[in-house]
């Protein structure tokens, strides 16, 4: 498969992208890239559930942003604008698949059926963000840019060695990363390794046009998806604000991987509507008109327009979705506010799975030390 042009709507960047739903909510029947045709075949309910996902993850994200401003989270990395890329690709995963996120994949986390409270311990600073990756099929949030692509590739090699690929119900791995991460050595090493060893994985790059303040021009001279050609596997660009394209292309790429056909790079062309994180002020490095032009491509309003035109959803449906998202957000708020502060002694908890004598000794010494302070409740 060569890296070629794809069909695209009028709003596509040079070189095109796979788009199944235009910003106006027109359903483009099928889209082609490299001679492969992509489409989706959803039931009415499935369309509606995708809409609910998009609205819910945006609402939860807004609540988190507010909590940070209120001093309840140390920091928050908002997914605003990237809901479609995340929900589409997240829903494309099968239960046995494994995801390796960055720090921004709250939408993917949600579509995996994970309790959305899970990453808040990290952002509130009450735990280290450690969770059971195997249980959730969702690795830890990774802040060291690009490093998770190597972890994912290594994991995918393990999947192959365990003989879990080559069948339609094999396992596939998806690694998320940003446009900025493509300049990291690690990501390029992962590409080399995955390409050479045919790792069962999908590299899902959310090109949100910025790495903090550095624009895309600082990372590349060619469209990112075309880099895959140099590593010897297919690269496809999708309209990252189109949840249908995100689903269709990721589903196909994951199925290729699980069937033993090796990796794919997907570049989801999207935009970070908010700040890089709550510590950042994007007005210092980008102009308002750019942000405005992306508002017209909003992932949620296009699906809403589609549902309305197709008579799959009316105001009462949309209101109900908003209401239930709000209820979920407010209960998330309450649960975040009631997260207990960790006791210093808890740092010994997750060091070894079965403990160690030396650690036990250190723990008891540390407990004595803490008890030596006034007002200590030990």
């Amino acid at each position: 498969m060569a890296n070629g042009e794809s069909t695209a709507g009028a709003d596509a960047p040079a070189g095109g992208f796979v788009q199944l739903l235009t910003p106006d909510g027109e359903r483009v029947d099928s889209a082609t890239a490299d001679g492969v045709t992509y489409s989706v075949d959803f039931t009415d309910d499935e369309y509606r559930e995708l809409y609910r996902d998009l609205v819910t993850v945006r609402r939860l994200d807004a609540e988190a942003t507010a909590l940070q401003r209120q001093g309840e989270l140390g920091i928050w990395a908002s997914l605003l604008g990237q809901e479609a890329a995340q929900v589409g690709s997240g829903r494309a995963m099968r239960p046995q698949d494994m995801a390796f996120p960055t720090y921004r994949e709250h939408g993917v986390l949600y579509t995996r059926g994970i309790d959305p409270i899970m990453p808040f311990g990290l952002f509130r600073g009450v735990d280290q963000g450690g969770w059971d990756a195997n249980e959730h099929r969702f690795n830890g949030y990774t802040i060291v840019i690009g490093s998770q692509t190597l972890h994912a590739t290594g994991y995918a090699m393990g999947v192959t060695m365990d003989g879990k690929t080559g069948t339609p119900d094999g396992e596939a791995v998806i690694a998320y990363f940003g446009d900025g991460a493509t300049s990291q050595g690690e990501v390029n090493e992962a590409f080399v390794w995955a390409g050479v060893f045919h790792a069962p994985m999908v590299f899902f790059c959310q090109n949100n046009q910025y790495a903090i303040s550095e624009p895309l021009e600082r990372q590349t001279r060619i469209p990112l998806y075309r880099r895959a050609a140099g590593y010897g596997f297919p690269g496809v660009r999708i309209d990252g604000n189109d949840v249908l394209a995100s689903f269709a292309v990721t589903r196909a790429a994951l199925d290729n991987a699980r069937n033993g056909q090796g990796p794919t790079l997907i570049e989801a062309y999207t935009y970070r509507m908010g700040a890089h994180t709550s510590s950042d002020d994007p007005t210092r490095y980008r102009i308002a008109s750019e942000v405005e032009s992306w508002k017209a491509k909003d992932p949620i309003s296009r699906l809403r327009a589609f549902l309305t035109k197709q008579q799959l959803g009316d105001d009462s449906f949309f209101d109900e979705v908003d209401e239930s998202a709000k209820t979920l957000a407010l209960s998330l708020r309450e649960r975040v506010l009631s997260m207990p502060d960790p006791q210093p002694i808890s740092m010994f908890d997750n060091v070894y799975p079965h403990g160690s004598a030396e650690l036990d000794l250190q723990r008891s010494q540390f407990a004595d030390y803490h008890a030596s302070f006034e007002g200590s409740d030990h």
Binding site: G71, E72, I75, G125, S278, S279, S372, F373
Partner: protein
């Protein structure tokens, strides 16, 4: 739980310590909803809106717009249950009794500075995603009185991590009488523990020692394993040198410690030129500090052009271009004083001299008829000139006939200078280091690339007005090369 809740300014961005209230979006008495934006706050990182943490009625605003507030200070109080009727002594400003009912919840409302990340080297704080604010110090609870015994056995220094080297004795006091040039072994301040091995010190400490001229081997290290710390070096540098100082005073009479270098070659020529110039041409030097951010951007753009691909492009190129264009606008600056004929000779060619530091000394080769060259040709000519000069092979013809010169002292990291004219020339531009500096740009303080130009000229020929205009034009070009080029074309 009290119905009135105070909201304290949170740390809005990973280790910030304060914020300025830009504007209140609500006033006392307003009914507000949860998450409704109530106030705009600007921190060192961003201007943000803070959403209300509780719904209710704004009962008090503590801080006016325009005030800078510390993180953790209360900024607003909200009555979270106004339907329960007035509080005792209710009103916009609560009375002392009602304030007693106010729940002050700093632990709940604010992220205490210092909790986000521990202090990191350089007075910065380690943070989660890519920033490094000022570090803050954490407060500790006092130890209980019975704790001292426990503290001794506390696991602060686990076995095995104890220093291998026993604490060393303090260095001997500085001798009162001049010490001998070579210290006697008995007086050696080097502790016994270290005489056998190399001196232990971290690389930044080694650099500090080098910068301060301190010999590490003479210091008694107070760090782990007897290593020399930053403080040790600083103390050693501050202390009167016990050994070196007396030596220096006696040595000033000792001609055997002086070196005599015959004056010849380039040095001789330079000296003669400088004396001739300095004592015949009355020099005036003017300075101009300019924002060269756009020049740096233009350089980047040029580098990306295919036709400039294989030629080195430096700020000097655009400075040279600026000088050449400014000469076209003020030809009189490119002239020389002919005492023999009592004339001023104005030249319509510019042989542009570039002062170059070579192993043999200072030389000022020039690019012949530089005004006729295209930018690319000029770039090539300058590169060749500098390379040949560095290799020491500059032919005499390259050094003759200069009409106007540039000295790029910025490469040595200094701001500018008051250069002396090469004999026969009437102007020379010193071009200082380009540094990021705070600068007023479009009425805001921004970090811009800034440099200082120094222009010396022969006051017999060039008046203050002409010299100023010439320097101003060079500055204008460097401030906006592309715009100026169009305007002057």
């Amino acid at each position: 739980m009290s119905r009135i809740k105070e909201f304290n300014l949170p740390d809005l961005g990973e280790g910030l310590t304060e914020g300025e209230i830009l504007a209140w979006l609500v006033k006392v008495g307003d009914t507000i909803e949860l998450n409704q934006p109530i106030v705009e706050v600007e921190t060192a990182k961003a201007a943000v809106e803070i959403p209300a943490k509780w719904g209710g009625v704004v009962s008090r605003i503590y801080v006016e717009a325009g005030t800078t507030v510390e993180v953790g200070a209360p900024i607003v109080a909200i009555d979270t249950d106004p339907s329960a009727g007035p509080l005792p002594g209710d009103g916009p400003v609560p009375s002392a009794e009602s304030l007693a009912a106010v729940e002050i919840a700093p632990a709940e409302g604010a992220v205490e500075p210092g909790l986000i990340g521990g202090p990191a080297p350089g007075g910065r704080t380690a943070v989660l995603v890519g920033y490094g604010p000022k570090s803050t110090t954490a407060k500790r609870r006092p130890r209980t009185s019975s704790a001292s015994a426990t503290a001794a056995s506390a696991p602060t220094a686990p076995p095995g991590a104890a220093p291998v080297v026993p604490p060393v004795a303090p260095p001997p006091p500085a001798p009162v009488v001049p010490a001998p040039v070579v210290p006697a072994p008995a007086a050696s301040p080097v502790p016994a523990a270290r005489t056998s091995g190399p001196v232990l010190a971290k690389p930044p400490v080694r650099k500090l020692a080098r910068d301060l001229g301190v010999d590490l081997a003479t210091i008694t290290g107070s760090g782990p394993l007897g290593s020399v710390t930053r403080d040790d070096v600083q103390q050693a540098a501050a202390a009167p040198a016990s050994v070196a100082a007396p030596v220096v005073t006696t040595a000033s009479f000792d001609t055997s410690r002086e070196q005599r270098i015959p004056v010849k070659g380039v040095r001789k020529l330079t000296a003669e030129n400088m004396v001739a110039s300095a004592f015949t041409a009355p020099h005036v030097t003017e300075f101009l500090t300019v924002d060269v951010t756009r020049t740096m951007k233009t350089i980047e753009k040029l580098k990306e052009r295919r036709d400039f691909r294989d030629v080195r492009i430096s700020p000097l190129l655009l400075v040279a271009k600026a000088v050449l264009l400014a000469v076209e606008r003020h030809p009189m600056v490119n002239s020389s004083w002919s005492a023999a004929t009592n004339e001023i000779v104005v030249k319509d060619y510019v042989n542009l001299g570039i002062a170059a530091a070579t192993e043999r000394g200072l030389i000022v080769p020039n690019v012949k008829d530089a005004g006729r060259l295209s930018l690319r040709e000029l770039a090539e000519a300058l590169n060749t000139l500098v390379q040949v000069a560095k290799s020491g092979k500059t032919p005499p013809s390259d050094m003759a006939g200069g009409t106007l010169s540039i000295t790029n002292v910025g490469v040595f990291g200094v701001d500018t200078g008051t250069p002396i004219l090469p004999p026969g020339e009437s102007a020379i531009l010193a071009f200082g280091a380009i540094r990021p500096m705070p600068w007023v740009h479009k009425y805001k303080i921004k970090i811009r690339q800034v440099t200082t130009l120094g222009l010396s000229f022969d006051h017999r020929i060039i008046d203050g007005e002409l010299g100023s205009k010439f320097l101003r034009d060079i500055g204008d070009f460097l401030t906006d090369p592309e715009g100026t080029l169009l305007a002057w074309a």
